[in-house]
């Protein structure tokens, strides 16, 4: 029965999406049809309430603000300056400026709790400059899609808060537990860029002129605005001036100040940024709305819950259980967003996890990494949507570019399983 329901819904979704129905509306259609077909409940009123409540939820307010910040910075000289400052330092490293995507996302992840905001902000800043310099599209978009997911793993992180509440695990410990795995993933991504660049020597544009150390230092003064901005936003969180959500507002105001000081702030650029951010947010909001309703429909139908119960009842060994759960989450992640997956399955799975003797803190980081994969798997992958919105390239193409980074996340999960200390050592020492 469950398999039949799943097959029908997946089939319908693929048909609607392939037919060109707008993604958010297609998700709503699946929710409506699923509830009509497989539950005794009427879908309409629940749909409106779920969409309203998700769309007006305070937790989301950082997202539109970070998108706006990206649109403002895109209209300044900040990215040009940033690349001028960084390129002398990166000229010897294979892959050169592609690494700015990964480093940029890693730094920004320390400010933003969402993957979409990380991917959109860094993408808006870095993509035009990478394109202008002739970097291959597959690598520019792939690194962004992959590294953007670090927004979930490096604190602050919305999904860790959701997991912490659902699974009764310390949110502080989860936050700190995400740091080393986050750095591990960023390192794996950079390693892949190095390997790819060595394998494809002609494809990475040549370095700017060779520079001496003094010249490198001189070029670094171009980095001052971006360092001030990142430092200001991060500093506001860790000094207690702002909460993680308010930091997004500080980011917008900071970018306006940078734009004003560079004399790129005028009527046209201000309204261009504002309307651009409004449309980009609306594009994401429509998909989030569809996804919020699909989550409600899934709650009624009980599909994820029943599958999780089924896995729990198999009586697998801890290792096999984790393999089964990884596959289960990766499959769910193709169709639902990360937070929905956690909310819909955690109540059922937690007893299984505990009785298998798996550390709930470690499992939280495992879940976050697996949910990161969901951001880049089609058909429902938010980083793919963001990048399609930014570049106009079809998400199926972007998904192909992101595949190596998906596989690297699988490698990271295996490494975390082999060396659980990567997760548990730091929280154990910092909080006890």
């Amino acid at each position: 029965m469950e398999i039949m329901i799943a097959a029908v819904m997946i089939g319908l979704m693929l048909a609607l999406l392939a037919g060109g129905v707008w993604i958010g509306l297609a998700l709503m259609a699946i929710g409506i049809l699923g509830m009509l077909g497989f539950t005794p409940r009427a879908p309409g009123d629940g749909m409106a309430v779920a969409i309203w409540s998700h769309g007006s939820s305070w937790t989301l307010t950082a997202l539109p603000l970070f998108l706006w910040m990206g649109e403002i910075l895109f209209r300044t000289k900040l990215s040009e300056d940033m690349f001028k400052g960084l390129s002398p330092w990166l000229e010897r490293l294979p892959g050169r400026l592609l690494h700015t995507n990964i480093i940029g996302c890693t730094l920004f992840a320390a400010v933003s709790g969402s993957s979409a905001a990380t991917c959109a902000t860094i993408g808006k800043i870095a993509l035009p400059e990478l394109e202008r310099r002739g970097y291959p599209e597959s690598m520019a978009l792939g690194t962004l899609a992959g590294a953007g997911t670090l927004g979930l793993l490096i604190p602050p992180s919305i999904i860790m808060i959701v997991y912490g509440v659902a699974a009764d695990v310390s949110i502080s410990k989860l936050f700190i537990g995400g740091v080393l795995p986050g750095i591990l993933l960023a390192t794996l991504f950079m390693g892949w860029v190095v390997v790819w660049s060595l394998m494809n020597p002609g494809k990475i544009p040549a370095a700017d002129l060779k520079t001496t150390f003094v010249e490198k230092l001189a070029a670094s003064k171009n980095l001052i605005p971006v360092i001030l901005l990142i430092g200001g936003v991060l500093g506001s969180i860790y000094s207690g001036i702002a909460t993680a959500t308010e930091a997004a507002a500080i980011g917008v105001i900071g970018s306006l100040i940078i734009a004003a000081s560079q004399r790129t702030l005028n009527r046209k650029s201000f309204f261009g940024a504002l309307m651009g951010a409004t449309r980009l947010y609306c594009m994401i909001a429509l998909i989030l709305a569809g996804s919020a309703f699909l989550t409600l429909a899934m709650g009624y139908i009980g599909l994820p819950r029943h599958l999780a119960e089924w896995i729990g009842a198999l009586g697998l060994s801890p290792a096999m259980l984790l393999v089964a759960l990884a596959i289960f989450y990766i499959l769910l992640g193709c169709f639902l967003d990360g937070i929905s997956i956690v909310v819909l399955t955690m109540a059922v799975l937690m007893p299984t996890i505990q009785s298998a003797g798996i550390d709930p803190l470690w499992f939280g980081i495992f879940v976050v990494v697996v949910v990161e994969m969901a951001q880049v798997t089609p058909p429902v992958g938010f980083n793919l949507f963001v990048l399609q919105g930014l570049t106009g390239r079809d998400m199926t193409v972007i998904a192909r570019y992101a595949l190596p980074y998906f596989l690297l996340m699988v490698v990271a999960v295996v490494l975390l399983y082999t060396f659980p200390g990567l997760v548990t050592w730091l929280p154990g020492h910092m909080i006890g």
Binding site: A18, G19, G20, V21, W22, I23, L25, A26, M28, A29, I32, G44, D45, M47, A48, I51, W52, S56, W58, L60, T61, P64, L65, F74, R75, G123, L127, E131, E137, A140, I241, A242, T245, E246, A249, V252, I253, F271, L274, M275, G276, T278, R279, L280, Y281, C282, M283, A285, L286, I287, P379, F385, Q388, G389, T391, G392, R393, D394, M395, V397
Partner: protein, 172 residues
């Protein structure tokens, strides 16, 4: 008629932008108020409503800019007749869903009014007021979809508010 519809879409875009600015002001107010010892009750709830207004009002405006995304893989690979059929199908399906959304969004506002639903937060707002943005936004989205569906059925190209702006970060 065209001019009237286009101004409706533009108006909803302007309202959405006001929502975005209001979100910024409300979220930022917390940072300024705390060190001054001022207690601003309910600003985070209002920020949520302002953000909702931004997202919902902009629905049609974004649609008419062609910026709501969809999978174009198949659309781009088929012949012109099949493509026209798919375009019509996606608009018809989209219109059906948008009609359902608009109907129930309006009904939600009416129900909130009838139930005298009040926000449970510190703001204590009667919920039908902020929910108007969702009702208005989804009705205008429905109008925009019907607009395009009619044009496509008549064999004409749907009107767009703007072509892809040259300043967007496009890789093509």
């Amino acid at each position: 008629m065209r001019a009237l519809l286009d101004s409706l879409y533009r108006l909803s875009g302007v309202l959405a932008a006001v929502g975005m600015v209001a979100t910024l002001v409300l979220v930022a107010s917390g940072v300024l108020a705390r060190p001054l010892g001022i207690y601003l009750p309910g600003t985070d709830d209002y920020a949520g409503y302002a953000m909702a207004a931004c997202g919902f009002f902009a629905l049609a405006y974004t649609f008419k800019h062609g910026e709501h995304i969809r999978v174009s893989l198949l659309l781009e690979r088929v012949g012109p007749r099949m493509r026209a059929a798919l375009e019509w199908f996606s608009l018809a399906a989209g219109t059906a869903v948008a009609a359902m959304l608009a109907f129930y969004a309006v009904r939600m506002v009416l129900q909130s009014h009838e139930f005298e639903e009040i926000s449970q937060g510190v703001d204590a707002t009667p919920l039908w007021i902020p929910q108007l943005s969702m009702a208005f936004g989804s009705v205008v989205l429905l109008i925009a979809l019907i607009d395009d569906l009619v044009m496509t059925t008549l064999g004409r190209a749907p009107a767009r508010l703007a072509t892809h702006s040259g300043e967007a970060a496009r890789m093509e």
